[in-house]
């Protein structure tokens, strides 16, 4: 008799309108890739001799931008978990310098130098994560501090020199050897994006990171080990940023104490711009990849048109602000669509 109650509500709230924007959804997902293609076409028409060439495309854009892609991918892991990592570019610079110092100055084998560089990246991530989780400091402040600290360490271990002559094994493995005409570095970046897509979307770990980022207290009460996940996200970003540094050393065959820092803002621009594409509203690896190449294509094209080099800063800075504005608009539109009809 006990379940005699439980009548259905007389009026089920109308819910049929939610999925009507199918076409709009697809357009939103594909907007950035389409904008990229449009840029490619536009510059190819404007500069038919220099822009749509294999050298420009396969090496200049796809090849050398791999460092940028890997760094942006490093960034989105903490971003998914709701943390900032400002130290990724400093981490990249340190890793490239460690590879150069150990390999060139100390004659260490390139393989061992790479392993040490990655381990130091992990250590920096662990220190960042420890300060964030154990002491409870805001990640933005922590990593702003460690970034500056690491930049100092780089100047120290390099005596402020640029160190050239990094083992050709690394240079070959990164930029000289090609697959389908494109330097291997590109394929490393793509493989990393694929692994991250798998981890973020198709494993419990990825779902958990997402919940930690969106609702920390919900995550904790749902039995997730929130501190461990946040810490792990910082370590992962440290290791991947160091990996970007190794690729950077291989791309240039050298390491210098400051140019790596220029990768920071474009990485943020790409991460936020990427969050408006493929899976709108979420930081996602392939959206990020497309965003990096979109930005790089735009800048390369403008430079070929003879625009001054400051356009780079205008472009990356403008893209970051625009991306954040766009994602805010997406969020606001969703919020209106989803407002409970109560």
């Amino acid at each position: 008799m006990s379940t005699a109650g439980a009548p259905a509500p007389a009026s089920a709230p109308a819910g049929g309108t939610r999925r009507r924007l199918r076409v709009g959804d697809v357009a939103e997902r594909a907007a950035l890739p389409a904008a990229w293609l449009a840029t490619v076409v536009a510059f190819s028409i404007a500069k038919p001799d220099t822009f749509p060439t294999t050298d420009n495309f396969l090496i200049n854009i796809f090849g050398t931008q791999s460092v940028q892609v890997v760094l942006a991918l490093a960034l989105i892991i903490p971003l998914v978990a709701g943390e900032y990592d400002i130290s990724v570019a400093a981490n990249l610079t340190l890793a490239s310098m460690i590879v150069a110092v150990l390999n060139v100055d100390h004659g260490m084998s390139i393989g061992l130098a790479i392993v040490i560089a990655l381990a130091v990246g992990a250590l920096i991530g662990a220190i960042n994560g420890g300060l964030i989780v154990l002491v409870g400091i805001d990640s933005f402040i922590v990593t702003l501090g460690t970034a500056t600290f690491i930049a100092g360490v780089v100047l120290w271990i390099s005596d402020s020199r640029t160190i050239g002559g990094v083992s050709s094994d690394l240079v070959d493995g990164v930029i000289i050897n090609r697959f389908l005409g494109v330097p291997l570095a590109f394929w490393y970046a793509l493989a990393l994006a694929a692994v991250m897509l798998y981890l973020l979307e198709f494993t419990p770990l990825g779902r958990r990171l997402l919940f930690v980022g969106r609702g920390r207290s919900v995550a904790r009460l749902s039995g997730l080990r929130v501190a461990r996940l946040r810490w792990g996200a910082m370590i992962a970003s440290g290791v991947i940023a160091a990996g970007a540094g190794v690729i950077y050393a291989g791309t240039t065959g050298s390491a210098d104490p400051s140019s790596g820092l220029n990768f920071l803002l474009p990485a943020f621009s790409a991460a936020f711009l990427g969050a408006t594409a493929i899976q709108p509203g979420r930081f996602n690896p392939f959206g990020t990849v497309v965003a990096v190449y979109f930005l790089a294509t735009g800048i390369t094209g403008l430079q070929q048109l003879g625009v001054d080099t400051f356009v780079q800063q205008l472009f990356y800075g403008g893209a970051l602000v625009l991306a954040v504005v766009l994602s805010q608009l997406v969020r606001r539109r969703r919020a209106i669509e989803l407002a409970p009809t109560e």
Binding site: M1, S2, T3, A4, G5, A6, P7, A8, P9, A10, S11, A12, P13, A14, G15, G16, T17, R18, R19, Y198, E201, F202, T203, P204, R207, R208, L210, F211, R214, G215, S217, V218, A219, R220, L221, S222, G223, L224, R225, G281, R334, E337, L338, A339, P340, T341, E342
Partner: protein, 512 residues
């Protein structure tokens, strides 16, 4: 006789193909507390948003204090028309002081003031609070105020803003102001409402709580499916009649079967639980038993669910659950989940689920590894199983891919039950399980709880709704000053007995 404070005629509004309001009339008389009732989706919110100038109605007329006003109302200017709003979330800034919150809005709008003397403002605030019989220190930070004082502050601010901007006594819309208040403190809020009507003001009181509506309102208007189901004088209308107006039919009140005591065995033993206002409390729960925890505000009963699942760290205590022992000072929600303990907290937004993620993501979160095959999460399986659960728990609309935040309050709560009961918990902890949930969904939630209990789970339900405890509990533990002061079981589990024991427990010296 003064003209009505507010008189709306024929208000209509549609969104896409859905008619949210169809020719609604509403009259709030001067000096009256008027209740506005209706299930989720009945059109209450739409009506209020029209009054706030947030929605433009398709048709209808509006008079305020006897004067016609143009529709749509210009957004944000409702105060100039003599209407003030207090929403559920109160809209206070917690890190600022009471007087800053009270006056900030007015100062921001005033064009004549070159500077602000906070000392004079504090003095004035004290006088204002005094006039309404509210005892709040104007210099206290709002974060340090009791929840009830925060609500009182928000209400005083709203009515003062109206009276400053508008000639005349004004009207206040209270949109579920009591949801986050312990039942015992609602009385303070009612005293303030009576104070406001005594000075000529009118109040439109929106609530799901029938007890409260019956206590404070003079008349009620009930909305159903966007139409007025009826307007009645509260004193002449019984609770069952009100429910009938709200849901459009008689409610089959769900009554838990008093279970056969003989077949029961002990499932849960809590020993010497201390922390968060609880002081060395011990009790047992049997397999399939629903035990209520209650008491007056400050008695500590609502801490128990959070302490037993490790959401809050206990100062001391042990929990034995089906033979395995847990040290409550070392328990965290992760271990609690492994041990078969589930918590359904009162605050759905912050503790229950993430609104911007899908129902599937939320419901499957505690059981993710179960959906992994050869290293890959099977999203199709996750959606399919969630869809099945949504059918079983009657979550509507039953679209597992929809965002959780788009569901109504009752459906959100049912989805949370699906999330936790699908982990097959042995001990389920509830805190105010029907807060912000409409009448129809409540009965479904009770039935679901009973079903889980029948299957052998033990339930603890912390609630200050004594009628609800009577309906669902086999036994009720009444708390006072951090201890159990009384235990009611069998035929003693009635609303009256529970309320009586609460007050007796608060008054009596602590007995062990």
């Amino acid at each position: 006789m003064r003209p009505p404070a507010l008189s709306a005629r024929g208000l209509s509004k549609h969104f896409g193909g859905a008619q949210a309001l169809a020719g609604v009339d509403l009259e709030v008389r001067a000096g009256e507390v008027h209740g506005l009732l209706g299930e989720n989706g009945s059109g209450k919110s739409t009506l209020i948003k029209i009054l706030a100038g947030f929605h433009a109605p398709d048709a209808g007329e509006l008079e305020i204090a006897g004067r016609p006003v143009p529709l749509p109302l210009p957004p944000g200017l409702f105060r100039e028309f003599g209407i003030g709003f207090v929403h559920q979330d109160l809209g206070l800034i917690l890190s600022l002081t009471a007087v800053e919150n009270l006056r900030a809005g007015l100062i921001a709008r005033s064009r004549r003031r070159p500077f602000v003397s906070w000392r004079a403002e504090a003095r004035r605030a004290r006088a204002v609070f005094g006039r309404y019989g509210v005892r709040i220190d104007p210099t206290a930070t709002v974060a340090d105020l009791r929840p009830v004082d925060r609500a009182l502050l928000a209400i005083v601010r709203a009515i003062e803003d109206v009276r400053e901007e508008h000639e005349g006594p004004g009207m206040l819309v209270l949109d579920e102001p009591t949801v986050f208040l312990p039942r015992a403190e609602v009385e303070h809020l009612f005293a303030l409402v009576r104070e406001i009507t005594a000075t000529g003001g009118s109040v439109l009181f929106v609530s799901h709580e029938l007890d409260e509506v019956r206590e404070i309102t003079d008349r009620v208007t009930v909305l159903r499916d966007g139409r007025v189901a009826g307007t009645a004088v509260t004193a002449d209308t019984g609770e069952s009649r009100l429910v009938e107006m709200i849901i459009g039919r008689r409610l089959e009140v769900y009554a838990a079967e008093r279970r056969d005591q003989a077949r029961h065995t002990r499932a849960v033993a809590v020993r010497d639980l201390s922390g968060a206002g609880i002081d060395a409390v011990s009790f047992d729960v049997e397999h399939g038993e629903v035990v209520g925890l209650t008491g007056l505000a400050g008695s500590g009963f609502e801490s128990v669910p959070y302490l037993l699942c490790g959401a809050w760290r206990a100062r001391g205590g042990r929990l034995a659950l089906d033979g395995s022992e847990h040290d409550l000072t070392a328990l965290d929600p992760h271990r609690a989940l492994d041990a078969g303990i589930a918590l359904i907290p009162a605050d759905r937004q912050r503790g229950g689920a993430v609104g911007s993620l899908s129902v599937t993501d939320n419901v499957t979160l505690p059981r993710l590894p179960a959906f992994r095959r050869t290293g890959v999460l099977r999203r199709g399986d996750m959606h399919r199983e969630t869809g099945g659960l949504m059918g079983r728990f009657d979550v509507r609309p039953a679209d597992p891919r929809a965002d959780y935040g788009g569901l109504s309050g009752g459906n959100q709560q049912k989805a949370l039950l699906a999330k936790w009961l699908s982990t097959a918990p042995r001990l389920v902890l509830f805190h105010e399980p029907t807060q912000g949930v409409d009448v129809g969904a409540r009965q479904q939630i009770f039935a679901t709880m009973d079903e889980a209990a029948q299957a052998g789970a033990s339930m603890l339900c912390a609630s200050s709704d004594h009628g609800q405890l009577e309906q669902i509990c086999d036994r009720v533990l009444v708390f006072g000053r951090g201890r159990i002061v009384s235990e009611l079981s069998g035929d003693d589990v009635t609303r009256e007995r529970i309320t009586e024991r609460c007050y007796a427990g608060a008054a009596a010296p602590v007995a062990e």
